[in-house]
Amino acid sequence: MTTPGNTTNPSTRRRVALLGLLTLLVGLMITGMLAGAVSVNVGDLMHMLGRRLHLSEDPERLTDSVLWAIRLPRVLAGSLVGAALGLSGAALQGAFRNHMADPHLVGLVPAAGLGAIAGIAITPAGGSPLVMMLLAAAAGAAAALLMRRIAHQVVESTQFVLVGLALGLGMLAWLGAIVLAWDSPRVPTFTFWVFGGLSGSTWTVLAAATPLILVAVVALVAVARPLDLLALGESEARHLGVDVDRLVRYVLVVSGVAIGGAVGLGGAIGFVGLVVPLILRRWVGPGHRWLLVLSAIGGAAMVVAVDTVARTVAAPVEIPVGLLTAIVGAPVFVWFLIRAGRSAT
């Protein structure tokens, strides 16, 4: 069934995309570790890694602690947040059969913010970030399930997007009200809940978020094929043996887990979940097995890249990372919409 000799063979394209994105991600992570106020070179980076992996007994350098305690957790946090956003964006678009679905628009991100604040409220100061993330996950999943009920009432994409926007802005307002009224150093600022930020990345927070996000990657890739069938329509998927309601609930809950981890790590970072799957679908096709994996890697690369720019371009001032993803993502999204509109006519 594959046409031999075809230069745009999909499976070749997917492999190129996988290798390309992985290389890009590693490159961006290294760049992210080297960039910053304290100047560091590749030798310093190798030195730190060598010492940490007990491969070398060289004396400690000043740059070691900057790299280990600040920059490495930060690029890892950026990758994880981006992976969670790209992955859940791709999965939600499949589950809602709507390419405008994204973790913000289906209410996952703002609800996860509310859940995270509730988590901070019930844990003692310095308590486990895992509780905060799990509550964020539960709130996010609940909001997404509500959105699914609403999506059944409104069929049109535009209505769906408007409902998602209204729901999200409403929850964001409550979030803002709580943050402003509470005014405690334990609660991240309002900016964090609107535009995100990775400056608080520590190994403790990473340790809580990593399992959540990795489990979500595996759990979503496992339902890649049923998500493909869903593109045929809900009753068609049912006729092929897919329990559609269960599949969609599963995807929403697992996406909630990923987003819970992501919001706990980096706050609300927009447009990654929307734009990355949109671009990759054009490149590697609609099959979810590849789309999910590549969206996770692509999302990771995007957040690491944007975060590096965000903290260096106006140094010593740090720009919230979500502000830059929106500045980059919004025009890309609009450009895609216009292109899609043209090809439809």
């Binding site: 493909d228 049912r238 092929l240 043996g241 897919v242 679908r281």
Partner: protein, 259 residues
């Protein structure tokens, strides 16, 4: 394996209104059973009850003696395939991807991948969509989508094939080709149950017909027995006359002016 499909005194009510009332139908492996009748007669509802999409309010529908209202989705996916009137809805996959999705019910079986590919290719060949295999569904015409949908249904290789107006968007050549294909599919080892609007296609290719009217079976049997001028005129509220087909061994339905 006679009586692949059995519908026993099925009733279906929505908000107190009976969409189907005491409907009894049976179809055996090897035959094409056509469902005809005017709009709102309950044809699609009957098809969906057989498919297990809707649970009847009374009576029961079985495929291979399994009650379709209670069988698992997985079991049903190996018992029956279903083609809606639009064939395949707009989606970003290619034609060969979509047809290969018909093999999903067999993903955990010990079937050689090459055999899957062979089945998919045969299905595309017989529905005349093989030349479209690398095109995306979004780029196809309505009639092409209907044939792609049919290919997917055939690739599912089920005992029972349920079709809702499978020829509604097709040109005359493809209409006849699809009906011939359905008949040869039935002859191999399948029971085909199809809602058909074109009474002459039904007359030429269905082994038996049931005529539904307002949720009840008005008459069933051979095309000659069902397609009668007086009955059709009454059911469709349109003067009709039935004559022997000059060339084929079946009736020919003609519409007439009102008085």
């Amino acid at each position: 394996m006679n009586g692949a499909i059995k519908v026993e005194s099925v009733g279906y009510e929505v908000a107190g209104k009976a969409l189907l009332d005491q409907v009894t139908v049976a179809a055996a492996v090897g035959e094409v059973l056509g469902i005809v009748g005017p709009n709102g007669a309950g044809k699609t509802t009957l098809l969906r009850i057989v498919a297990g999409d809707l649970s009847p309010s009374s009576g029961r529908a079985t495929i291979d003696d399994r009650d379709t209202a209670t069988a698992s989705l997985h079991d049903l996916s190996r018992l029956r395939a279903y083609l809606g009137p639009q064939g395949v809805v707009d989606n970003p996959f290619t034609v060969s991807d979509v047809v290969a999705m018909g093999r999903h019910p067999y993903r955990r079986t010990q079937i050689d991948p090459l055999e899957h590919d062979q089945i998919v290719e045969t299905a595309m060949e017989s529905t005349d969509v093989l030349h479209l295999s690398r095109r995306t569904v979004a780029s196809l015409s309505t009639g092409e989508r209907q044939r792609v949908g049919l290919a997917r249904v055939l690739a599912q290789e089920t005992l029972v094939v349920l079709l809702d107006e499978p020829t509604s968007a097709l040109d005359i050549g493809h209409q006849e080709a699809v009906m011939r294909l359905l008949r040869s599919t039935a002859r191999r080892d399948t029971a085909v149950l199809a809602v058909l609007h074109d009474l002459n296609l039904a007359a030429a290719y269905a082994d038996r017909l049931i005529l539904l009217d307002k949720g009840r079976v008005r008459v069933s049997g051979s095309p000659e027995a069902v397609l009668r001028g007086d009955i059709l005129t009454d059911v469709y509220q349109q003067r009709m006359r039935v004559i022997p087909h000059p060339d084929r061994d079946c009736p020919l339905v003609l519409t007439l002016d009102h008085d």
